[in-house]
């Protein structure tokens, strides 16, 4: 523990800006992953253990699309859309058959998908890591705000993730589809009885969830190495965010992701070598005080 360094950081604008930005980028990417997880759980009461696979495949699809088109925007779009479609396929072919099954059965199905697609990635893209490379538009010097370093690429990523969060939030609260989704989360039988096609609704939920994870993988492509199995570590952090935020709460996922991101950003200064442990301590602390998570319904 280095409280002196942490104290010095909090009193230095340059350090606060740099570490907060780094925390925000980690948090925003986590939010995109966790938002899909929590949405699927909120509506279907399914814990999608294969969610990290969507993130991984989104990254790989974007990598290939970027290699073909040299357009980062198209690559990101390809990653997100491909995973939205994959989400529908995954829900229709597999998950729809285990609704109502016990969690162990759902876990087995998801884990099988994880292993199968890790191997498919090895066959298609090879077992070695892949690097997309930074698009030319972002090969620019970082911005300096109050002496702190803010990479333009990360600023754009934070902006995109924030925009997605706003669209998702408004979509769920203001649109007919969003209201139906929220109603289905509370009482799917009643929604079905009122004539809503829940089969389509559930597929849409998986499409949104998968698309968000794919988007996160695609957005991170230029700076993260792609490798088979890369979805696992992000899945664990995604679960932490989902649990802290409250299972099923999009707003909770956003707040929790920011908390985790900022804990990482500043934890590395004050608790070097213990950042991961710190995240779990924060999680335990929050769950002791609020077992249902920050925005979850009482258990």
């Amino acid at each position: 523990m280095d409280f002196n360094a942490l104290g010095a950081c909090f009193t230095t604008p340059a350090c606060v800006v740099t570490q907060a930005t780094s925390g925000l980028i980690v948090g925003m990417l986590l939010f995109l992953v966790a938002a899909g997880l929590t949405l699927i759980f909120g509506v279907l009461k399914i814990v999608n253990f294969a969610h990290g696979t969507f993130y991984m495949l989104g990254g790989y699809v974007a990598y290939s699309a970027y290699a073909e088109t040299d357009s980062y925007a198209l690559a990101v779009l390809a990653g997100a859309v491909a995973m939205a479609l994959f989400g529908v396929l995954f829900e229709r072919v597999l998950m729809s058959r285990v609704y109502g099954s016990n969690v162990l059965m759902q876990l087995l199905v998801c884990y099988a998908v994880v292993l199968i697609f890790d191997d498919i990635v090895k066959i298609v893209w090879g077992p070695e890591f892949r690097a997309m490379g930074m698009p030319a538009a972002f090969q620019v010097p970082p911005l300096f705000i109050a002496g702190g370093v803010v990479p333009p690429f990360y600023a754009v990523l934070i902006g995109i993730a924030a925009l997605i969060a706003i669209v998702l939030s408004l979509g769920l609260s203001r649109t007919r589809l969003g209201k139906t989704v929220r109603a289905a989360a509370v009482n799917p039988q009643m929604v079905s009885a009122l004539g809503v096609n829940t089969t389509v609704l559930f597929a849409i939920v998986f499409a949104i969830g998968g698309g968000l994870a794919g988007l996160a993988g695609a957005l991170a492509g230029p700076v993260r190495s792609l490798s088979p199995g890369m979805g696992f570590s992000i899945l664990i952090e995604g679960f932490i965010v989902t649990v802290i935020g409250g299972m099923g709460s999009i707003a909770g996922a956003m707040v929790a992701a920011l908390v985790i991101g900022l804990v990482r950003g500043f934890g590395t200064i004050g608790f070097p070598g213990f950042t991961d442990g710190l995240i779990y301590i924060v999680m335990i602390g929050i769950l002791v005080l609020r077992p249902q998570g920050l925005f979850g319904r009482p258990l």
Partner: protein, 411 residues
């Protein structure tokens, strides 16, 4: 010509098969199986794959020359994912189930120590080809009679690198350093060794911060920002493969390489190729370079590898190749595949090698190799990627290694 299969033809074919079957079975049984385990998936897989590629070239060469003791060789490859418990299980399985009579342990240090312990029970020879953590062979308590290392050793690199970096730092007036290395045995031990020697050669060195990311960590943002906050003049890193690529790509976003000098001993060809915007001026060791040693034999080996695999070799590639050269020479000398006999033949063995500083590499009595080419230079973003290479002084390396071993109570 094709036509209906008659009963007579079927009977004749069946009889021929029955007669030939024992010969076929015997020929298959006579094949010498060699187990190889490594990290063949994940961010480090490019190194595991480059080990396998190198061994497949050696398999063809050795078989074309008549095999080992007249038996054709065949590799059995396994992916341990670099996990110690899996590596230990795989090592046993390769010998006890797959029938391998020799082992090539191409694991990183994360798993090689687990394999080393398994070797105590298995009466087969094993060569560790990629683990660089010095204690694997330097510590007599860890050493195993039938297990050897054909790879760089951390302490050798530490002496060579520290001497070079001390000269570099003195010339550039750099004394505030940061370190960033993977958080496992290799990263911790080798960083400590580098710092020990570095401070010996440049006593005014100050380490202002240390970062220990996990092996295979996807995001280095927090590490990079921490390094920026500490404001070192230079950074020493032992990150490698996909981790190094991700670190450089993420570091570029923060213009990290404009804010501090970077030194690393772990730049390999595929990493250089994967990093889309390789910063110039990284102080780097030569892991494997076609131009170092600058000999026809080294160039020929590198180009043959490229021709076969359409990618360039890594440090792990040449190490695995040399391991097979050592097996070849030792088996010929021992005229046996027995683990103890091979071990006796390997101890003190000196072979000609394209990768030797003077054209030879020696397997020392402490089961580790010396005399391989080590050099340091600086990166440029295009071929040959590292220039102004200064070769290390092996006399100095051995002198200081001996001193270090005494300090560790290893000798």
């Amino acid at each position: 010509m094709s036509g209906p299969v008659t009963r007579r033809a079927l009977l004749a074919g069946g009889t021929a098969t029955l007669v030939a079957a024992p010969w076929v079975a015997r020929a298959q049984a006579n094949t010498l199986r060699i187990g190889m385990q490594s990290i063949l998936s994940g961010p480090i897989a490019l190194l595991g794959t480059s080990s396998r590629n190198s061994l497949l070239i050696e398999q063809d060469r050795i078989n074309a020359a008549g095999g080992f003791l007249g038996r054709q060789i065949e590799f059995v490859f396994r992916d341990s994912k670099g996990q110690p418990q899996e590596a230990a299980r795989v090592a046993r399985e390769l010998v006890n189930t797959a029938g391998c009579e020799l082992l090539v342990d191409a694991e990183a240090s994360s798993a090689s120590f687990a394999v080393q312990e398994v070797m105590r029970d298995l009466n087969v020879a094993c060569i560790h080809t990629n683990s660089e953590t010095s204690s694997l062979t330097a510590d007599p308590k860890i050493r195993v009679p039938t297990a050897f290392r054909v790879a760089r050793q951390g302490v050798h690199d530490a002496v060579a690198g520290s001497l070079y970096l001390a000269d570099f730092a003195n010339a550039k007036k750099i004394n505030k350093w940061a370190t960033c290395s993977p958080d496992y045995a290799y990263g911790r031990d080798t960083t400590a060794q580098y710092l020990q020697f570095f401070k010996k050669f440049k006593p005014d060195v100050e380490v202002v911060t240390e970062a220990w990311p996990k092996l295979g960590q996807p995001d280095f943002t927090e590490v990079i920002t921490k390094l920026i906050q500490a404001k070192p003049q230079a950074l020493f890193t032992l990150l490698y493969a996909g981790d190094l690529s991700a670190f450089v790509n993420q570091g570029n976003v923060y213009a990290l390489f404009g804010q501090m000098t970077v030194a690393t001993p772990n730049v390999d060809y595929p990493v250089l190729a994967a990093i889309k915007n390789l910063p110039a001026g990284i102080q780097s060791a030569t892991r494997y370079l076609e131009t170092f040693p600058d000999t026809p034999a080294n160039k020929e080996w590198g180009q043959a590898y490229f021709k076969r695999w359409n990618e360039r070799p890594t440090n792990w590639s040449w190490q695995n190749s040399v391991a097979m050269h050592f097996y070849e020479a030792a088996i010929k000398k021992a005229n046996s595949l027995d683990g103890k006999a091979i071990a006796a033949a390997l101890t003190g063995l000196k072979i000609n090698s394209p990768f030797g500083a003077d054209g030879t590499i020696t397997m020392r009595d402490d089961h580790t190799t010396i005399g391989y080419a080590i050099g340091w230079g600086q990166t440029i973003p295009k071929d040959p990627f590292i220039t102004d290479i200064k070769p290390a002084d092996w006399g100095k390396i051995i002198e200081l290694e001996t001193e270090w071993k005494k300090q560790q109570n290893y000798s």
